[in-house]
Symmetry: C2
Subunit: 346 residues, 2 copies
């Protein structure tokens, strides 16, 4: 049952066993084309036999390549990010890269520290969330020369490489839909703005869209919340407290939308008859809610995959281009309908 922990094997010993030099072993393992088939076979056999596992740090030191990419996301508690990270990692794995992951909890300082640590660890590239970061971070990034890519924002949002969709457009699509249905009084249940340019962009887009439709959007129609269902329900009630409810609510994401539906239902408010709700993200449950949730499908996995591809390409000096922005899709389901007929004005 217990295996004798054999001493660690260094390249030297593989070389001796195979009857070649360490240099040849290194080449055979990392760049087989440089070694004749016979020696290559010998080396491979010896390596396998001895259970040779290269020493990553030594390799990184000598080659100036860590074969590791870093990712810093706000949180793993949101499937939006964990899905993207999953896709990112799978892409890396396919290319034999390792992922370093850290979470910042929407804290700029923590993010800075994490990035610094990763640079220190020698990551070959870095994935960040959001297109607006502190100057200190950008300075650090530029000083280190590590390729990086920002995510969840369209390319135009930053002078630095960025990949994602346009959050401004997102709320525009939603408002267009709602206004098209006849809604004139639309509210928004937004996420917290702290270090979250996605939320900020959506607000901007919301305001602009409302203006285009010549619809009012007083501050009282916007309420902020984190993504705990309790908090969302409280936000719902907060909006009620501020005056008569809007006929439609734009949620920051599907979880928020779910919370709103839950609170509406428990108050006997009919969705969508009395109140329309739109989510964002198209989580799996969205389609299964009662009624099924109208939402915007966002390309989370694509973001992770493309981020990985971009970084890998940069590292290997392959040409890459980032899409200007990723497509969004309005998924029409059962939570939106024309507003109730105005029997009483305001």
């Amino acid at each position: 049952m217990t295996i004798k922990p054999r001493a660690k094997i260094r390249i030297e010993e593989v070389a001796r066993t195979a009857g070649v030099s360490a240099a040849t072993v290194s080449r055979a393992l990392n760049n087989p084309a440089l070694v004749s088939p016979q020696l290559r076979a010998k080396v491979e056999k010896a390596a396998k036999k001895l259970g040779y596992v290269a020493h990553g740090a030594a390799r990184a030191l000598a080659s100036r390549r860590s074969h590791a990419l870093g990712a810093v996301v706000p949180t793993l508690g949101n499937t939006i990010f964990s899905d993207a990270i999953g896709a990112f990692q799978r892409r890396l794995e396919a290319e034999n890269y390792t992922m370093l992951l850290a979470t910042s909890d929407y804290d700029e300082e923590v993010e800075y520290r994490n990035v610094r640590t990763m640079i220190e660890r020698g990551v070959d590239g870095l994935m960040l969330v959001g297109a607006t970061h502190g100057k200190a971070l950008y300075d650090l990034l530029e000083a280190s020369g590590v390729p990086f890519v920002q995510t969840w924002a369209p390319a135009k949002a930053s002078p630095y490489p960025t990949i994602g969709y346009d959050n401004t457009a997102l709320t525009r699509i939603v408002v267009d839909h709602l206004a098209g249905l006849g809604h004139r009084d639309i509210g928004m249940v937004a996420g917290l703005r702290r270090n979250n340019d996605r939320v900020r962009a959506r607000l901007v887009g919301m305001r602009a869209a409302m203006r285009r439709h010549r619809l009012p959007l007083p501050a009282s129609r916007i309420v902020f919340t984190d993504y705990r269902i309790d908090a969302v329900r409280a936000a719902f009630r907060e909006m009620q407290r501020r005056g008569p409810m809007p006929t439609a609510l734009v949620a920051n994401n599907d979880i928020v939308a779910l919370g709103l539906m839950l609170e509406a239902q428990s108050q006997g408010i009919r969705v969508p008859r009395q109140l329309s709700i739109v989510g964002v993200g198209d989580l799996e449950v969205a389609a299964h809610l009662h009624p099924p949730l109208t939402t915007i499908r966002t390309p989370k996995q694509t973001i992770g995959t493309l981020a990985a591809e971009y970084l890998l390409a940069r590292i290997h000096d392959r040409p890459v281009e980032l899409p200007a922005e990723l497509a969004l899709e309005l998924v029409l389901r059962g939570t939106t309908a024309p507003p109730p007929r105005k029997d009483k004005t305001v």
Copy 2:
């Protein structure tokens, strides 16, 4: 806007700037107690001024410590794991460790490769999910001498350090509850068993508990599914196809439970009047469903935190002890009730 990428600073230059030797700089930065306050201050100032960032690989090579821990989990798509990973990472961060993360997608071979890669990268410790792995994996682990900890299983499940709760006990608790309510015909909607000893343990526990209550549990009462809601609903129908429905269903987790509730509702089956359902995990939504879900609360964050603590302790040669098993809590809510009165037998 553009910062001139200053050349990378090596310890040598910090030493020169501070007017001391490289050895002193290293000591001042890593083990300040060994350096006199004056020199320490000088070094710190020089390091800050030059923006010195240590070279992790060189440091790892020289010190034989990577200051990185690895984690390999089946998937990030399940909050069970992403929450635990989040807690794990936060704990590491507090101690200035970095996390390497990889997902195996429940594939033993992928897991092996990932572990190998991490060992190669020189992780100081490793967190794994599950208490049963292939012999090859254990051999690798022992040969490398890297401390590791298994999770999501009780200590007794393995000769190796393991931290988690007892999945056998979990289903026992559920069955006890259901049987106590008067249910005699209980079904189980389990997860896929492939490389998943948690599911297998729950099956074992389920069978044992049913036996203790002298209740039958034919194979037809157990149906397997992955965690997509569509699949769960199909599983529900599959069970119906096999004969008259049980009066209670044990779900593999809250997502599965949700899927079951959804399907029941859409068929007009009343929960819990006609059908009791129990979940596992106590996800945040569980309390907000209609009716609120009876479920078992599992200590996911605790598992992540304790895993980190154990590993850190091992690395620093601090004494550690792992709890035999973590506590489970039955959260009674609205989806369980006595079975409908037997108007017609079987």
